[in-house]
């Protein structure tokens, strides 16, 4: 990410964002509501072009690349959207199978097996023939994750994975993210403001501030909580409690 500025028209949402996500790490984009976390994710996955700056993958800049090169890069991404964003006219199996049918030479039987594996990995084995409208919100989210990893992407993006989930489902999704990272070796970029998730999964994090409209901290969240010079970041990571009140909290 180099000097990225995001704007809707003349309204600047965030400016001068400059950070690096290392391969194989879980990187969290955090910040208060409305600070532009999801917009930043949209810039990173190629849905929205930045007003200025660029997103660079392994030395290849996304927004400067040709459309073919962009397609190639997109093939390396998997995106899990906030509400799952499953195609409502297809069953879960068809949702997960579509990218495999489109981008791999595999026969139908092997695609079915990979689809079953992906659904099993997110704990949805046996739900392949269900339509998105027939399953719960938590299951939708997990099915969205299964579709995101259909093509075994190098980088998985998650937009608010735990929003709207009960604590146990949310914890399971966090564990899933970590387990997938460890077994697949993929890089995970997670947008969230859930503190429990942030501390549980993040290797590194960037904090976007709604007031100054730029990033004001970047690093491992536990260190930011205890040592970040910026009080806004410390307050955020301590659920709004002051330094004194949070004195008892240990890393």
């Amino acid at each position: 990410m180099t000097d990225l500025t995001m704007a809707y028209g003349s309204f600047v949402i965030q400016h001068d964002l400059d950070f690096t996500v290392e391969q194989g790490e879980v990187f969290v984009i955090m910040g208060g509501s409305g600070c532009g976390k999801s917009t930043l994710l949209n810039h990173m996955v190629g849905l929205k072009a930045p007003a200025r700056g660029n997103v660079v993958y392994d030395g290849e800049s996304f927004w400067g690349a040709s459309s073919e090169a962009q397609e190639g890069l997109r093939r390396r991404f998997g995106v899990s959207f906030q509400q799952g964003a499953l195609w409502s006219s297809m069953t879960l199996a068809e949702n997960v199978g579509l990218p495999l049918q489109t981008f791999t030479p595999l026969p139908a039987r092997q695609i079915r097996e990979i689809v079953s594996l992906k659904l099993a990995l997110v704990g949805l084995a046996g739900y392949g023939e269900f339509y998105p409208s027939e399953i719960s919100g938590g299951m939708l989210k997990r099915a969205g994750v299964a579709r995101a990893m259909a093509l075994d992407p190098d980088i998985l993006f998650f937009d608010e994975p735990s929003a709207g989930l009960d604590p146990i489902s949310s914890r399971r999704l966090d564990d899933l993210i970590l387990e997938l990272r460890d077994s697949l070796g993929a890089t995970m970029v997670v947008v969230t403001h859930e503190l429990a998730s942030i501390f549980a999964i993040a290797d590194n994090a960037v904090f976007l501030d709604a007031e100054t409209r730029t990033m004001i901290a970047c690093g491992p969240p536990k260190i930011l909580r205890d040592e970040c010079p910026n009080p806004t970041v410390r307050r955020f990571l301590r659920r709004g409690e002051g330094d004194t009140a949070a004195g008892g909290i240990s890393a």
Partner: protein, 381 residues
């Protein structure tokens, strides 16, 4: 993914026998889905034929792997478990072992769903039940809308006048453009077709009668209704369907506000009010379209054409068109609102609701027009 930068070589798998009755599956090459994968059937056949009692894996020669290798191994493991063969997973890459453990962590739910198509008799039964339910729902909706009208008469219906005016604007003035275009062209086409025939008998002037009577009694109201079904009926269905998806209709119900009164009633009233006006407008524009052919192509005089038209149509002809158009307005509004309220909660369902609203409207418009024709004939109009 692991080894994504490695040199791509074809994925291979081979069996190495281990005395006395063991075997090792040796994987080599790049096991990546995008380059294609070997079919497990051949290897499984060989394993069955060999009659091994324990199996191990060796994946040291793989240069890269992804889910393709995991599904292959899962298939082999499943087959071996079914045959009571012990399998040692130690030779698999660590990531593969972890993914298999994850996949096995939650057992498959017996949901009773399979991708198989049900028998024809079952399908026939299902569609009969669905049709019966749809008819019941349609009748219930009709009843509820009558109750809402009753509430309106008793001045107890709850809806916002501003909503009503918005719908009136949407299905009245905003529809003038498309109604003008269609009516003008229909008048023109009617006159043109008539002129070709009537000219042969030297009766060109009767083009004025043809166009005026056809437009006022039949074409004006039916074309307007069809345009409104495609334009406004579909919009009602899509709007209410999306509101249903977003639980906006549930929100009204839980507050004790009847969605029938709040959403359906203003739409019905607006269309009942606007359809006759649009129909009269359509009649006049259609007659104008006919006049263009009469005056321009047939060389008839202005006064002559106007007098002929005036003599041909009576107030009753206009009234017939207006009466029919009011009924058609109710049909279009009801079909649009019914399909919207019944819509499922997904993007595909909203699309279906809009399509279904248009089809339902048009079918009922034509059926009712036929019934009107018979009744008017019996009454001698």
């Amino acid at each position: 993914m692991n080894g994504s930068l490695a040199v791509v070589s074809d994925p291979t798998v081979a069996i190495r026998r281990q005395e006395p009755d063991g075997a090792v599956l040796e994987f080599a090459g790049a096991w990546q889905s995008q380059h294609g994968l070997p079919e497990p059937a051949g290897i499984l056949g060989e394993l069955r034929a060999a009659g091994v009692s324990h199996l191990a894996f060796d994946a040291r020669q793989t240069t890269a792997w992804d889910s393709g290798l995991v599904t292959f191994v899962l298939r082999v493991l499943g087959e071996m478990a079914a045959r009571g063969v012990a399998a040692d997973r130690a030779g698999l890459p660590d990531g593969v072992r972890r993914l298999i453990a994850m996949a096995e962590a939650v057992p498959e739910q017996q949901t009773g769903r399979t991708g198989a198509r049900p028998l024809w008799l079952a399908r026939l039964g299902t569609s009969a039940i669905t049709t019966a339910a749809a008819v019941t729902a349609g009748l219930a909706f009709l009843g509820e809308s009558l109750l809402a009208l009753g509430a309106l008469v008793r001045r107890r219906a709850r809806f916002r006048i501003s909503d009503l005016l918005l719908v009136v604007q949407e299905c009245g003035p905003r529809a003038l453009g498309i109604v003008s275009l269609i009516s003008f062209l229909i008048g023109l086409i009617l006159a043109f077709v008539g002129a070709v025939q009537l000219q042969q008998f030297g009766a060109s002037i009767f083009v004025a009668n043809l166009v005026a009577i056809a437009m006022t009694r039949e074409i004006g109201c039916i074309m307007t209704a069809i345009v409104m079904a495609g334009r406004t009926g579909a919009a009602f269905a899509a709007q209410l369907g999306t509101m249903n998806t977003n639980q906006e209709i549930d929100a009204l119900s839980t507050m004790g506000i009847s969605p029938m009164e709040f959403l359906v009633l203003p739409r019905m009233l607006a269309l009942i009010a606007m359809m006759p006006l649009l129909t009269v407008y359509s009649d006049l524009v259609g007659i104008l379209g006919g006049a263009v052919v009469g005056l321009g192509m047939l060389g008839l005089g202005h006064t002559e054409y106007f007098e002929q038209t005036r003599a041909a149509v009576h107030v009753s002809d206009f009234l017939i068109g207006i009466t029919k158009s009011s009924v058609f307005g109710v049909v279009v509004a009801l079909a649009g609102c019914l399909r919207g309220m019944q819509s499922g909660r997904s993007a595909a369902a909203v699309g279906l609701a809009a399509t279904s609203a248009v089809v339902t409207s048009i079918v009922w418009l034509i059926v009712l027009d036929g019934i009107f024709a018979v009744i008017l004939n019996v009454l001698g109009f």
